[in-house]
């Protein structure tokens, strides 16, 4: 097991730079999730750690050793691919045993290692099958089994769950998490799904357009997003953003262009007249009486059972509010909402950075 340091890593394909200097520190035994929208360079970064892609500049350090020039097979890394990349002509057993066979491990030890891994992953009954004879979830497990038998220093996962249906995805999420708790192998996991990131990670790295937007523990990112991008990316449904400018005469507030005023805590770090983006999560909007809060018009009501989401219109933009309690809403109704002052986020309007 090992820690991984990524120091100012850049990657260009031809003339286009797709990673613009990435710094990430991945502690030993941690479960780190790289998350970001499609095309932000997550896979590229992961493949560079694996050695499948050359590093254009910067350094990748695994357990104190710079591995930029170390060929993949000497990095002692196992990777689970999005399409599993199982060898179709080998039985499950041989798929899992392949790396050990290449390493000339003796047959008895291979047998043991494969059966141990198969035991962990509930694959014992399938060892004599070909990949094509397995379901998606089973193939996924074989791909993990292939990684486990090698007992590598680092596990890499590239969107391993995206080919599975929603229910299986939730189940496999737990299984992978359990597996990590059991093996404690340093894991780097790529996904574009923020829920996966939130539920699985010790540490989340939010990436966007080839840069790291923020690194932190899941709830840390949720509670203190560093900028508008992270705030909007983490959390579902996404945070509401309302632009306006700060007024400090008497009670601090943010006034929107249509005159709607949004309350602000006195200690908020914004000066009089400053243009800001006022961010508040759907679950931090309370339903209040007519004399309080601001008014919005209900557009769509989405009861989820555990909560009810209301899409409402305010000054031409849509905001979402989520309520644990059950209320009767109907489209067109005017409701009054009040943000929970302690949970309001303020961002700089131009840079998008947190104030």
């Amino acid at each position: 097991m090992a820690d991984v340091e990524i120091c100012d890593v850049r990657k260009s394909f031809g003339a286009t730079e797709v990673l613009h200097g990435v710094d990430i520190s991945i502690p030993d035994e941690s479960f780190t999730v790289l998350v970001g929208p499609s095309g932000c360079g997550k896979s590229t970064l992961l493949r560079m750690i694996a050695g499948l892609e050359k590093v254009t500049s910067g350094e990748i350090v695994i357990r104190g050793q710079v591995v930029n020039e170390v060929p993949p097979k000497q990095r002692d890394i196992a990777m689970v691919f999005q399409n599993y990349a199982l060898y179709p002509h080998m039985k499950v057993f041989d798929n899992m045993a392949f790396s050990l066979k290449l390493a000339k491990v003796d047959a008895k030890q291979i047998e043991e290692a494969v059966h141990r891994a198969a035991g962990i992953l509930n694959l014992e009954d399938y060892l004599e099958r070909f990949p094509r004879q397995l379901s998606g979830g089973q193939r996924q497990r074989v791909a993990m089994g292939r990684a486990i038998v090698r007992d590598p220093q680092v596990f890499l996962f590239d969107e391993p769950l995206s080919n599975l249906d929603a229910k299986l995805r939730v189940q496999m999420r737990t299984e992978i998490r359990e597996l990590h708790q059991r093996l404690r192998t340093t894991t780097i996991y790529v996904t574009h799904d923020q829920i996966e990131a939130m539920t699985m990670a010790d540490q989340i790295v939010v990436m966007h357009d080839g840069i790291v937007e923020q690194i932190g523990a899941p709830l840390d990112l949720y509670d203190n997003p560093a900028n508008v991008f992270v705030a909007g990316f983490i959390g579902s449904p996404a945070m509401n953003f309302l632009p306006g400018s700060v007024e400090r005469g008497g009670r601090a507030q943010v006034t929107m262009s249509n005159g709607t005023t949004l309350p602000l805590a006195e200690e908020a770090a914004a000066g009089e007249g400053q243009p800001v983006v006022y961010g508040v999560r759907p679950e931090h909007l309370d339903l209040v009486s007519e004399s309080d809060g601001f008014a919005a018009e209900v557009v769509v009501v989405e009861p989820m059972g555990s909560e009810t989401q209301v899409l409402a219109r305010l000054d031409g933009r849509e905001i979402i509010a989520a309520f644990r309690e059950r209320h009767e809403f109907h489209p067109g109704q005017r409701i009054h909402l009040r943000p929970n002052l302690a949970k309001v986020h303020l961002f700089h309007q131009d840079s998008g950075q947190r104030l």
Partner: protein, 330 residues
């Protein structure tokens, strides 16, 4: 009201006539769709084949429809005394046997060479090379040139007096006498094999290249991480995944080589002293030039068991391997 709607739709259910039902029946429909193909097969495949086999059982010659003689074209034993028997027909014909061995030799060597070179080229072209597109086009050239044209070119290349190979080698001072490519039996055999390989490699190379490109790159990446070197990757990933397409391409290659006619006929006409006759060229010589349709047809018919054997081998080779089989609904 609901009741009457139900009843009406029930009546409609039994409505369709025989024609509609036939049209909707899978098997009937399948039969109709297959009919044209079957007709074409019978007309253009079975008829000539049947005619050939029939001719081989007659003493037909050009201008003479002939009569049925049983297997006399193949085997005939005549005894002139107690211990003085002669075998006639193909069985007793050493030229025929020579052509059989020559055909087998020619097919085996040429096919193995085509496979080896074709696979090598395919692997080469599957890499990232500069001018890849142009190289691929160049490789196809021998395949595009009409066979007879390339055969004539080879005839010149192998000519006893004007051979460019002999000329270059003499100029380089490597030999001092022109090589008799087509006059010496073994030289002629190897020359023909070379020409056939030259012509056949593009087909093998391009088909295998197509096969190589269906192997998902992530398998190679997985194998890289599993610690496989280049050779191990070929041995354990590329080759096994390529076996189905190898079976197809080599079946075709063997069939085409076994029945080769144009190259031989244009370059050596079976000479010197019948040394390069394949069964196909010998059959043509006996039937059309010699006029013995029955005997020529017998030689052609004698090719059938070999071809069937080749097809059987590939048929079993081609059967979807277990790993290719999908889930039950596949």
């Amino acid at each position: 009201m609901t009741d009457s709607t139900l009843r009406r739709s029930a009546v409609a259910m039994t409505g369709p006539g025989l024609w509609t039902r036939l049209n909707n029946d899978r098997n009937w429909l399948g039969f109709w769709f297959m009919l044209p193909a079957a007709a074409i097969l019978v007309l253009f495949l079975t008829y000539p084949l049947g005619l050939g086999i029939w001719l081989s059982l007659t003493d037909a010659s050009i201008g003479n429809p002939g009569k049925f003689v049983g297997i006399l074209n193949f085997y005939e034993k005549e005894c002139y005394g107690p211990d003085d028997c002669e075998i006639y027909g193909l069985f007793g014909d050493h030229v025929f046997w020579q052509s059989v061995w020559q055909t087998i030799f020619y097919t085996t060597v040429a096919s193995v060479a085509k496979f080896a070179i074709g696979l090598y080229l395919a692997l080469l072209l599957n890499n990232h090379l500069p001018f890849k597109a142009i190289l691929r086009a160049v490789i196809l050239l021998p395949f595009i040139v009409p066979t007879v044209l390339s055969a004539i070119a080879f005839w010149w290349i192998y000519d006893a007096q004007f051979s460019i190979i002999s000329w270059s080698l003499t100029k380089l001072g490597l030999i001092d006498q022109y090589i008799d490519f087509l006059g010496d039996p073994w030289n002629a055999r190897w020359s023909l094999i070379f020409a056939n390989v030259w012509r056949g490699v593009p087909f093998v190379a391009i088909t295998l290249l197509a096969g190589l490109q269906t192997v998902p790159p992530s398998l190679y990446e997985a194998a890289t991480l599993d610690g496989a070197g280049r050779w191990q990757m070929f041995r354990h990933v590329t080759f096994p995944l390529l076996t189905p397409i190898i079976a197809v391409v080599m079946t075709f290659s063997v069939l085409f080589t076994f029945t080769d006619f144009q190259l031989i006929w244009a370059i050596t006409r079976g000479g010197p002293a019948n040394a390069t006759h394949l069964m196909a060229t010998l059959s043509y010589q006996r039937a059309i030039l010699g006029g013995n349709m029955g005997e020529g047809a017998a030689i052609s018919t004698a090719m059938i068991p070999f071809l069937l054997a080749a097809i059987m081998v590939s048929w079993f080779g081609l059967q979807r391997r277990k790993w290719q089989q999908g889930e039950s609904d596949d």
